[in-house]
Symmetry: C2
Subunit: 340 residues, 2 copies
């Protein structure tokens, strides 16, 4: 089969690789229907995260079960499935409490790299969710979004306690931030303020439910949000970037006693005890337990209630994966879908 391998910063190759095999009786092998490039893939691509050896890459996927191990009961060959970046047993106390991203058996589900034709998924029974039947082609982008960016944006909105009567601020206008807007709307938020200075992303933010756009950043952005919220700050803020500046902006936009949901993978963030203590925020976030939300998200997509696949503004054949990285790196695309 062929798969994507990152050799060095900027050096991404689609090359021949060995077919994945069932290693444990709880594994499944999927034939990938669609995959994509994540904002977090750009960290190693840009050399911010070190690459020690050629590394298979990609962790977002939908596909058809090709083969299952002897102990797999919940999915079977031929089914169309959605999974996420963590494999989880979905039976331990941590999973049952909704934190499958920290399952006691937790491991990365895509060590073989999901930007490929085939992939081995561990703990298939706990990790994969089958759709009712083979989906219409038009649903594929949205189901693929559910695999990570929708699930992550949704977790951000839930962690920020978005809901009826709430004013939500979303910091970050990448796919996760945009889908946190959609999630906040679905969760019933009264007002949703998107912080964005890119016109095409502002348009999608409005389509997903943003009621206000704030173009200012940093202290000016915080002042603008305070102005829009009676001087108090927002009840709920989603941080979907992961830099020190965006985190500071998110903290500053949240009212005392409010909820800050952070889903941007942190780079260079430190929070002093004084800030943690004196802001009196509810802080919650981390790698999203996407599995918690998958059945509900698949249902909403299946019923055509939400169209998160709109974040894909570029679709390429998987073999052109290097072009997809370039387009996202240069911010020419919000998110690129890849089809084998």
């Amino acid at each position: 089969m062929h798969g994507t391998v990152l050799h060095a910063p900027g050096d991404i190759r689609f090359e021949e690789r060995e077919d994945p095999k069932i290693l444990k009786p709880t594994d499944a092998i999927l034939r990938i229907t669609a995959t994509c490039v994540c904002g977090s893939d750009l960290w190693p691509y840009r050399g911010v995260n070190q690459i020690k050896q050629p590394t298979p890459i990609g962790h977002e996927y939908v596909g058809v079960v090709e083969q299952v191990g002897a102990d797999v009961r919940n999915v079977k060959p031929g089914q169309f499935v959605v999974g996420s970046f963590f494999a989880s047993d979905n039976t331990c106390e941590i999973c049952l409490a909704g934190y499958q991203s920290r399952c006691i058996q937790c491991e990365l589900s895509c060590q073989g790299g999901a930007q490929s034709e085939l992939i081995r998924i561990p703990l298939a029974d706990g990790t994969l969710v089958a759709t009712p039947e083979a989906p219409d082609a038009e649903l594929i982008p949205s189901l693929l979004a559910a695999s990570d960016v929708l699930g992550t944006g949704w977790f951000g909105a839930v962690a920020a306690d978005a809901g009826p009567g709430k004013t939500v601020v979303v910091v970050g206008d990448g796919a996760v931030g945009l889908l946190a807007i959609l999630a906040s709307r679905e969760l019933g938020a009264e007002r949703i303020i998107a912080m964005s200075r890119h016109e095409s992303r502002q348009a999608l933010a409005r389509e997903f439910g943003a009621t206000d756009i704030v173009v200012e950043r940093g202290d000016e952005g915080i002042a603008r949000v305070k102005e829009l919220t009676g001087g108090y700050g927002a009840h709920s803020v989603v941080e979907a970037v992961g830099t020190e500046a965006s985190m500071a902006q998110a903290i500053g936009c949240t009212r005392p006693g409010g909820h800050l949901g952070f889903v941007g993978v942190p780079h260079g963030i430190e929070v002093s005890g004084g800030v943690l203590f004196n802001t009196e925020l509810h802080w919650h976030g981390g790698p999203a337990p996407v599995r918690r939300f998958l059945p509900d998200l698949i249902d909403r997509i299946w019923r055509r209630e939400i169209n998160p696949g709109r974040v894909f503004d570029l679709t390429l054949p998987l073999a052109k994966v290097a072009d997809a990285y370039r387009a996202m790196d240069e911010r020419r695309a919000i998110k690129a879908m890849l089809v084998p």
Copy 2:
């Protein structure tokens, strides 16, 4: 009148001072019935917090209203009242959401120092809660505890989401930690693990509802808690000290997706983005919005359901305040009550 003034580390004096006066029409003057020394008073007493000039001290009080400003409606001269360390209007959106400690009009309520005979309390209508009538003498210690340590321990337990079915760990065996145990029991926690190596405090912890005692600290303490919780860690952890070591211990004792309530005033704590993110905890804490809990706490005390006044194991005349500081500094007393 006479009041307590900290002149320099270790130099605490009970001396003659000017009587407080109504400065704003929303003020009240109280005649203190009882006050006490807080663990946090020991920071400046020990010279950890700098003292720039002689400073009136104390922020825990119950007393009788002596005089009110022209705009005060909710309390009147002669009433017995309980307040807390922050003055709050109790009408702004932040107060109504239960964060009176961050009221938009918030100010320290005891700038004149509560370890005195008289004190001016700002925003009296929002800050003070009157008891149904003059309390029996036996209730005074518990009502005084409600003013800070009970309210703070209670907030810690609420922030840690203590409740039915939960295993709670309390880090810190000072008055706040001990009362977080009592609060966890009242909130219905199934199991309460006190981390303490002092026999007299362990005994009070058990009396307040602790089901288990862990004497180990640091990594050993964390390992012991994991052992007691099926390898997962506790659902709910209250941090009631404020040092780097106690915070690290509290973080390590909390299971992924669990709740960490921190009420120890932080000294030298930094939390990296990685820890904030990857632990997937719910983090919440800060200066306790005691006012949120006061009506309920006073009711429970009035009905003799709880006896938080048990934390006072030393009672002295207010004039002997220096002895009270020494006893607490040397850990000879858990908490010292002072009576003018």
